[in-house]
Subunit: 251 residues, 4 copies
């Protein structure tokens, strides 16, 4: 059983009629619904949003979260630094995290990447076609995913995307203008796993598309595969200077 | 359900009394037993050895194998090239493969790596202590593994080990002489996954050690996580020159 | 001073009038010319072709080659296995190698990669526009390269490209049809370095384009940066069993 | 000509007589001296320390620095956040950075890594033997380096070292106690390059050892190989929505 918290800043849906029409239950509703359908009994999904106390991400909630998904765009600055540090610590302990689309500029993603996370973009009112190509067919996140995924209308995100080179690159997208984008990127941070996924904009119904939901569910599964029972994190620190072979002693 | 074939050249056990005493059911017996105990109902384990027809690795067997484990040492040259090519093709299609210890010099490992796979070694009659340290605590292959694994008696394998840089490095070993060795290495080849694991010599009871069995079972699980249902391999080749947007056509 | 051997099968130029017109001195002539212009005094460039004895790649020539560039297409099978093994051994010793375009199906590339090296392609008579985007701006191979390089007419090469995940990915291309391709890929094999570069087809004047020449010259420079004076390759093999601290002994 | 700034907090040398005896010109003196000897005319080396205004790292100094080396231990917290952000921005623009030993806990290293950078250590009064093994013999940082480097007396630094998996791993160390440590790690951040090197403690004369000086000089050379003239960093941001093929327009 994987315990998932779907986080959404939930600002556009309440402010912009066009977004509210696309996502009447919020983007978190669509994302959570897709994960539930794909993972069924294997998942326990809750949601959390910016305006809840502690953004719905108290220490208790995070302690019971195996994988956190993150969508934010208009209100990155309103996320409290203390909550960001709490999430960061949990990732290093082994919690997985899936960063979606404009989450590339969130505090937590920049904190985990160590770079500016800037990218090139173009906001065409009608969007443009994005093709998502698999470049790592044996990766679990690509399981059952068409090659390419065709997303009819989407905001262009292009290179250079200022991220550390991914440890595994699963997807590369192209756009109608000819730009390319590393749109499926895997990382390890401490005992935790992170996946960045490019598709998904508040102005288009991308999170209702089954192939996109499949990728997100696969990503949740992959991120949940991190540390389980390994005692490393508590194991760090100074070793006794008098016994070099401390690992040979009975515990 | 993961279908596993445990392959062993099965030469030392029939030739050397010391090895026969350690491994009365063959090294494949010990390895298969460990996987069965760790994965229980999730695994279906068969074994195969060099002197069976086609080394027990017919097209039919490989077609029903999700993960192959490989131990060889004295008879690498006796493995038929046609069988090596068959295994190679199956790995690219998505079959996982776990290469154990002296399998570093097997034809299939060299074929998949593209390098000489040479290493430094020392055969002390009584062996020497190997410590296996985890350097990627969130990797599923390290789940539940002590830090370090202490192997009391083992042959020294040291750097430089002529392999491509691993895509993920899970374990590093040190030996009594002070040498180090990249002893847990992950690779992707086509849609298949490969794990190389250093410990395990015919002269020492390493494959009876529960922590080592745990690592092998974890590795089988990780390698089984490759391509499932993704239609990429059959999807390659020439695209029609008259339709650039072939991916928009109904199938 | 970097000593470079530019290898070309030199078949199309003598067979196809259209290619002869584009490359009157052979494709090797254009490639060598570009390297000479870019590296000037820092380079000593010779060429070699398929129909020379030993394909112009005798042990003597390879011993004096720091970086080999490779273009082949119609005659991969005519390259002698013994020459392939000789090149392979030199790469592991530290010689750099730059594989160009259709060289993806050469024996030496497949030997070094361990995969099928298959890809998707489309041969439109007039070609189509390729855009080459930099995704690793600090890599020396990208130095001074426009973002993107625009290649007006080129054959489409697309994913899935069956190669091991590159150790560093420098360029990603898109094509008029919307396909993407990992077109600038770095690898280490033994003490040698390899760079694969996608652009360049016999039917189009790609190797006369200054930006493409710049990339190839940069790649030669990067590949030349491999092993220099490190005594590792001769250092492998069995260590004396009686002295564990052999590295403390006077040489 | 590579312009290098050698930074040292310069606290231990003024506080502890044992350190002052080992490093009468400060650790920065020994480090700078080694780089000067190894790189000779190719390098212009200056030094900077914590108690200078802006820690000797004004915007002017950084603008003229191609590679910064960093040693700190007792006073990480006294480094001003504004200076850390300035260094961070310069790295993303293309400045190289070499982090030495206890610099693993510096603000700038943690900022660039995104992890805790914790490790295991043991402070034996007399230190213990460290062996530094090369695992990437073709990497320029290993050029001319013995295998292994024997450091007679050094503080133990061991795994788990909480860093992102290195993009290239050049060295692995072992210690008298049997611990291992990833002691030579390469990263890319934006257009800049980073190398972490483990050896070097204030209590031992490690930075006077010629092999260690060679590694540091090689690392400076590698880090200097980042972005030169590529126009990417200024090239990011929003693209005009009305012209999808902006890259085809005259500049």
């Amino acid at each position: 059983m994987t315990r998932i918290t779907v986080w959404n800043e939930h600002v556009h849906e309440r402010r912009d009629a066009s977004v509210a029409r696309l996502y009447p239950s919020g983007m978190h509703g669509a994302i959570a619904g897709g994960i539930r359908r794909e993972l069924a009994e294997a998942a326990e999904v809750r949601t959390a949003t910016l305006d809840e106390p502690e953004h719905g991400l108290s220490a208790e909630v995070l302690a019971k979260t195996d994988v956190l998904t993150w969508w934010g765009h208009a209100a990155h600055d309103q996320v409290a630094d203390a909550v960001v540090e709490r999430i960061h610590a949990r990732v290093l302990e082994g919690m997985g995290i899936v960063i979606l689309h404009s989450g590339h500029y969130s505090k937590i993603f920049k904190r985990l990447m160590g770079t500016s996370c800037a990218l090139r973009w173009r906001s065409d009112p009608g969007g443009e076609r994005e093709l998502v190509w698999t470049v790592n067919p044996g990766h679990p996140i690509a399981a059952g995913v068409p090659h390419p995924i065709v997303i009819p209308h989407q905001e262009m995100y292009g290179e250079y995307f200022d991220i550390p080179p991914p440890e595994a690159l699963v997807f590369i997208s192209s756009f109608a203008g000819g730009e390319v984008f590393r749109s499926g990127c895997c990382y390890t941070r401490g005992a935790g796993r992170l996946f960045y996924f490019g598709p998904g904009d508040q102005e288009f119904p991308v999170y209702h598309q089954p192939e996109v939901q499949r990728v997100i569910a696969n990503a949740v599964g992959w991120c949940a595969g991190g540390a389980r029972g390994n005692d490393l994190p508590s194991d760090r620190g100074q070793s006794p200077s008098t016994k070099r072979d401390w690992y040979m002693q009975p515990a």
